[in-house]
Symmetry: C2
Subunit: 193 residues, 2 copies
DNA sequence: CGCCGAGTTGAACTGAATCAAGAAACGTGG
DNA sequence: CCACGTTTCTTGATTCAGTTCAACTCGGCG
């Protein structure tokens, strides 16, 4: 499978000339995150945005009973961050962990400013990304408010069929807000129909 | 109680001189929404942002079974919108309705551009608003994934004590993702403790 | 006075959680 | 390439939080 690098992503989405992107290429920082390792832990502050070049991350929290709750899966060409933590000077309540061995491009404040200054379209693009994120979060809240475990599962495999193949089933359950046992039963019951 | 107008809101948040804000004041459009009336209905497209000057709005969806699910309460100084619908050229799945008689300032694309051009700080402010929205949505998802009806209720009255006083209890239940009956019982049980 | 909408209460029901035990799949080293 | 231990998934029995449906109370208002 071929994935976009961050550079290619910029070219495709911002209508920026290859040659101009090269100017920033030298400034790109990458991080390699081995499977199971963390990019961010509860209590950290994060002002960077991470672009996933290869691999798969998950963002999750741990409640008082020690249960994990997955907020986001981030496969290739996705962004993850908890910029909110540094925006509001409050430590993040989330972990960001590599589900598979993962490589990310680090977009720090310096690079962010640089992109905004060099490419007028970038700010607009960034705003659009935020709107898209909001829409997705709202849709998920709506689903959590209205749909059964089964419906949420069906919705998940429809929207993220690839992710379902790449993560343990228990993580999907955690994303859906149900137990691994329940997800197993939901799947069995669907298979029998 | 004294509320900000949109103008005052700008002055307070953007460090803009009063005199400059006057320049845009003439361009402001207001809408009066009587109690129970709609600002937006399922299937509409919305590129405007609404700033609530006075009153209280709710944004909600209706599922296949006819049940309402409240996504947002927007009291004074809050923004509501489903700009996402016009951003992505998909009709909104949500209704925006006045819970009380409400007055909003309409921030349309024209005004938005004007604000961005005149006030460099506006774009940054706008981005920050979006981030704040994201943080709030994530926190809510996290709560829906991890907390019981009782915990969600306690969290709600802690964060929005004023809203709880202003809307029918059934709407709070709908926001929390439980039935009115369940909320009534949760409250009774808490009162007995 | 009587109606009406909002909230409460009760009893039966149900979807999903919990706890505990097995089965299958997986990868690592011999 | 097999054998073993670990992790992942499934299944069953039981419990529980929250739903459903129906009846009732209360306060406001014509």
């Amino acid at each position: 499978m071929k994935y976009y690098t961050f550079k290619e992503y910029l070219i495709n989405n911002l209508a920026i000339e290859n040659i101009h992107v090269d100017e920033i290429s030298d400034n790109l920082k990458f991080i390699d995150v081995p499977k199971g390792e963390y990019l961010l832990k509860e209590g950290d502050f994060c002002s960077d945005i991470f672009f996933v070049d290869k691999g798969l991350l998950r963002q999750y929290s741990i409640d008082e009973k020690g249960k994990e709750h997955i907020l986001t899966f981030a496969p290739e060409t996705w962004f993850v961050t908890d910029r909110e933590s540094s925006f509001f000077a409050q430590p993040t309540p989330y972990y960001i962990q590599a589900v598979e061995e993962t490589t990310v491009t680090v977009i720090d404040d310096h690079l962010l400013n640089m992109l905004s200054e060099h490419f007028p379209s970038f700010t607009k693009f960034n705003t659009q990304l935020l709107h898209s994120h909001i829409r997705q979060l709202q849709a998920r809240i709506n689903l959590l408010l209205s749909a059964s475990a089964e419906d949420r599962y069906l919705n998940f495999i429809k929207i993220y069929p690839d992710i379902f193949q790449r993560v343990p089933q228990a993580m999907v359950a955690s994303y859906l807000g149900i137990t691994p046992e329940s997800l197993s039963r939901v799947r069995r019951d669907l298979a029998m129909k």
